[in-house]
């Protein structure tokens, strides 16, 4: 910073540390709870991790909790399929449509562009019932395609790729024409490899988006074998007047947070890039 005031620097660090601790606190207690037996948690809350870590996680992954009827393992797999499906699906169809809009002139081009733009204003939350009906009519309830397809139209991804394609120098395309390549060849050989960093950034964001979906899976899954982990956790909480299996719930919650958090921590550069590029 501009001037040297040691006590101010110290204070700054202290505040930041405190901030980090407060932000991390709920996760820490969750982790602690996931390592104790149910009796310990419900009697007096412990501050340090216990010895039931492996036992609790094993039970969650292979048996599950209460009446849910699906193991955390299988639900994680569903979450993974949904997250990957959404991320890959959104990126693929957005790349193709952005390519068409930037590199071709055709009737209704702008009309299509605006139609894609409008999807930005229609999050699933505002069209719950009719979308559910469409999916039901298409016989897609309780299926992976029902979980994935309604969420893969994306204006932001299309705009991002469109922006990127606009910055690709025209000369590359001309050089490619002189080299004798056609449009799809240009797409696969030149544009796609050049878009790598944008694709990676977007993938991180969309993976998290897909993994964290809640409302939509809640609507389309009735059959436990298609539950995603987040739906499963909510079901574990629904015990009425009974005692919730807190140790299992906390272990499951940890497992629900681990994949996206790891993605953010290990792909922080792509994550930050993706956030700032897609949102702003």
């Amino acid at each position: 910073m501009v001037e040297h005031r040691p006590w101010l620097t110290f204070l700054t660090h202290a505040i930041l540390l405190l901030g980090c601790l407060i932000i991390a606190f709920p996760i820490y207690t969750t982790f602690v709870a996931s390592t104790h037996s149910l009796e310990t948690i419900t009697s007096f809350f412990p501050f340090l991790p216990g010895r039931h870590l492996i036992e609790n996680y094993q039970q969650a992954l292979t048996v599950g909790s209460g009446e849910v009827g699906a193991t955390v393992g299988s639900m994680m797999l569903n979450s993974l399929i949904m997250a990957l499906g959404i991320a890959i699906g959104k990126i693929s169809i957005s790349l193709l449509s952005a390519f068409a809009i930037v590199y071709f002139r055709f009737r209704f081009r702008m009309f299509f562009f605006w139609m894609i733009f409008i999807t930005l204003m229609l999050p699933v939350e505002v069209r719950i019932l009719p979308t559910h009906k469409v999916v039901a009519d298409l016989n897609m309830l309780d299926s992976y395609s029902g979980l994935i397809f309604p969420l893969i139209a994306s204006a932001t991804a299309t705009f991002l790729f469109r922006q990127f394609f606009m910055t690709v120098p025209d000369e590359l395309c001309e050089a490619h024409r002189i080299d004798g390549g056609g449009p799809m060849r240009f797409f696969f050989d030149i544009l796609l490899p050049m878009s790598r960093t944008s694709i990676a950034a977007l993938f991180v964001i969309l993976f998290i988006y897909g993994w964290n979906q809640y409302l939509w899976p809640l609507l389309v899954t009735g059959d436990e074998s298609y539950y995603t982990l987040l739906i499963g956790i909510k079901r574990m909480l629904d015990v009425g007047e009974g005692q919730a299996d807190w140790h299992i719930i906390m272990a499951s919650t940890m497992l629900a947070m681990v994949p996206p958090v790891l993605v953010v921590i290990f792909m922080q550069k792509q994550f930050v890039r993706g956030m700032t590029e897609t949102e702003k």
Binding site: L172, A175, I178, G180, R185
Partner: protein
């Protein structure tokens, strides 16, 4: 090996006509430079030859075959772009090989051609690098290599040196010239840099506002500029122009307020007693004693270049600055007077109205 002929080429973007009829025959193996200021349409002409722009009217033929409707890839041309247009994610080798790969050339032959081109361009050790790991000059050479491996009939260059720094530009200019002498492939080269044009071109096409002003060898355009535009565009410092009037007998020129100059050979009767523009290159003035047939210069300021001295001055209060170039170092005070003469064969006369050259 090929000749290229442009026959009365027009180009319009919508209602806006930008090329107004250009004809030129480019001979087999010739290095032709299209020179002009930015926006004169020179790149558009090149892009029409390449097939990147549609020809509005007229024909372009390569080796006698009209190519108007052919895709760029089918015209057997190769092009070097101003920004090189290298594929950023491919290595140097892949960049050069890509066009051949699309044409489904056998791998062994691709390898051989790329290696040969790399040898010629001294790129062999860089074949595994990506473009961003190369210097400007090296990228430039990769762009050349991509063309060479194709062994096309015609090379097209769109201001290929303008992104390089001055020193590198001089060096690459020589390399380009040598390469052309080695390969002997018909080349069309677009630039706005007259030094590049003069040193590289067998012939120049000088363009302005979508019209061809002159086609000729570098020496021709320097010694006998066809129009005022060419006269002012070629040569540095630029030619001085004086407005004047040809005498009735066609033997001398009355410069407005700066004296008169003899003309030889005498002017054709058509031009006698007409408004003309007289051009004199700064290097063609010589110092003379005061007297008839001289132009008086009142020194305004000097630029001492070492080998030469540029003297800027006015012929009178009303006149604008003009320039004189003298060998060696001189030191004239501001306001001192010099008298300059020009040998009549060094005068360039232009019709004031049309801007066209008068006489020989």
């Amino acid at each position: 090996m090929a000749d290229v002929s442009l026959r009365d080429i027009y180009k319009s973007f919508g209602q806006n006509e930008v090329i107004h009829g250009i004809s030129c025959d480019i001979h087999d193996g010739e290095f032709i430079v299209i020179l002009g200021p930015s926006g004169c349409g020179k790149s558009t002409v090149l892009r029409m030859i390449a097939g990147l722009e549609v020809i509005t009217q007229g024909d372009i033929a390569i080796n006698g075959k009209v190519v108007n409707q052919l895709e760029p890839a089918d015209r057997d041309i190769a092009m070097v772009f101003q920004n090189y247009a290298l594929y950023p994610h491919m290595t140097v080798f892949k960049n050069m090989a890509y066009g051949l790969k699309i044409r489904r050339m056998p791998k062994a032959e691709i390898e051989e051609r790329v290696q040969r081109a790399a040898r010629i361009l001294e790129l062999t050790e860089f074949l595994d690098r990506k473009p961003r790991q190369l210097s400007g000059g090296q990228r430039q050479r990769v762009a050349m290599g991509r063309c060479i491996v194709r062994e096309p009939k015609v090379f097209l260059f769109d201001e290929p040196l303008s992104n390089l720094d001055a020193k590198l530009r001089v060096q690459m200019r020589l390399e380009l010239r040598n390469l052309h002498e080695t390969l002997g492939i018909t080349s069309v080269y677009v630039t706005h840099d007259q030094v590049e044009a003069m040193t590289l071109g067998d012939r120049l096409i000088i363009m302005e506002n979508g019209y061809v002003e002159q086609i000729g060898s570098p020496l021709e355009v320097y010694e006998r500029p066809a129009t005022i535009f060419v006269a002012g565009f070629i040569g540095s410092p630029a030619m001085n122009f004086f407005e004047g009037r040809a005498s009735r007998d066609g033997q001398s020129l009355e410069l407005s307020g700066s004296g008169s100059l003899p003309v030889y050979p005498h002017l054709e009767p058509d031009f006698c007693d007409k408004a003309v523009v007289v051009g004199v290159r700064p290097e063609h003035f010589s110092l003379a004693p005061e007297g008839d047939g001289t132009i008086k210069m009142q020194v305004d300021h000097l630029e001492t270049l070492g080998a030469d001295t540029l003297v800027h001055g006015k012929s009178g209060e009303e006149s604008s600055l003009f320039t004189l170039r003298l060998p060696d170092i001189h030191n004239y005070k501001k306001g001192s007077s010099l008298f300059l003469s020009v040998s009549p064969e060094r005068l360039h006369l232009f019709d004031k109205q049309s801007g066209k050259r008068i006489g020989d």
